[in-house]
Assembly symmetry: C2
Homo-oligomer: 209 residues x 2
DNA sequence: GTCTATAATAAGATAGAC
DNA sequence: GTCTATCTTATTATAGAC
């Protein structure tokens, strides 16, 4: 409405929105969508509740924004599986990208996992369209390598699930893994160790090299 | 107090408790601990809310009972990893048991997964004592086989995490897997297919056979 | 043992002052 | 744009009739 320095106007807005989204991510992980309260998101963002609702209108919108952030990250971090790379390099790259995501952005993985476990109410459409297409395309690449005798004859879709599950596990089950190993936090070398273990194991499982 | 046929007295009580626990399991999966309401548990159990609270006193107690059920199931279904079996048979048995659990009791796996993702508030003690001990014992068995040259030299603990993650994935991410594969439900043969894929893949990854 | 009614509290959301 | 005060509804839990 009032045009008071429109180009700098969004500064506070953007900062507040970022603070809200970060606080919201934690709240949604700890308490789930329904259990999260706008009040506690506001508290840990250091803002009055009304401001949070001013920026996002309602709780549903906050959650959508958090999920969108998560999917963007998934999209960026997933890397790719390119035929030209050949099975060895492609799998090395893919596993490394996924492991890296699990260790650098575990919260995104947790939000995603909770949403799926709870029935994917907000992600059904994403899975039905984008994800289904992605899996089918990558499965074709694997199948081509199999047909060419460059890797073991396994079901490509099961293989994709195997890579997803083994890599995400280190994000989603972080608490359990740390407790079992009697450690307080992950350290930098852990990601390398895991990536190298998984890469070698999977390549051997596919008779590559 | 009043001793009216004490041996039959528990009949309704037991039936009601079972109905409540089943309804509660669904509610806790869909909405998380904090998001679940005693009212909706009561509704889907077909009982007045006050009866639910009469049997379990409060929401926390209901959740504890659900978790206890889950851990009992984990304990029964996990099978064992026995040195005498040798690596091939032991891994075949273990993978089959875990896959079987994922397909027959996916809800237990989901409750467990959500609890861990959310920070294991109610399971820290279980993980710190029971689970840590279990993993260390089984890791020793794997290490013995490695030392005897009967399987590839991999980190045993990472191997256990790999088996856990790949098998549980089919329970926890059921919704995503079905959506990607454009299917409404799992069928009986799916469990066999998965167990056989994973067993072969893991044995190859360990240079067994 | 079972259930209705209700007390006490906390939630999402908005109106309107600043 | 920001925040205080408040409305409405939903929640846990209990008291007490049956």
């Amino acid at each position: 409405m009032t045009d008071n320095s429109n180009k700098k106007q969004g500064k506070i807005r953007q900062q507040s929105q970022e603070k809200i989204l970060e606080a919201a991510q934690d709240e949604f992980i700890t308490n789930g969508y329904k259990g999260a309260t706008v009040q506690s998101i506001a508290d840990s963002a250091g803002l009055p509740k009304a401001n949070v609702l001013y920026y996002f209108k309602n709780k549903e919108n906050i959650y959508h924004a958090v999920l969108e952030q998560t999917l963007d990250m998934w999209d960026e971090g997933i890397g790719d599986i390119k035929y030209e790379d050949g099975p060895k390099v492609a799998i090395e790259k893919f596993v490394a990208a996924k492991v890296n995501m699990s260790f650098t952005a575990p919260k995104a993985s947790k939000i995603y996992a909770m949403e799926i476990i709870q029935g994917a109410q907000h992600l059904k459409e994403f899975a039905r369209t984008y994800l289904r297409k992605w899996v089918r395309e990558k499965a074709k690449v694997f199948q081509k390598w199999i047909d060419e005798g460059r890797m073991a004859d396994v079901d490509p879709i099961s293989l994709i699930f195997l890579i997803w599950s083994t890599t995400q596990h280190y994000a989603d089950f972080e608490t359990q893994i740390l407790t079992i190993m009697n450690r307080a936090d992950y350290e930098d070398e852990d990601a390398d160790h895991v990536a190298s273990f998984l890469t070698q194991f999977i390549l051997r499982g596919l008779n590559i090299e």
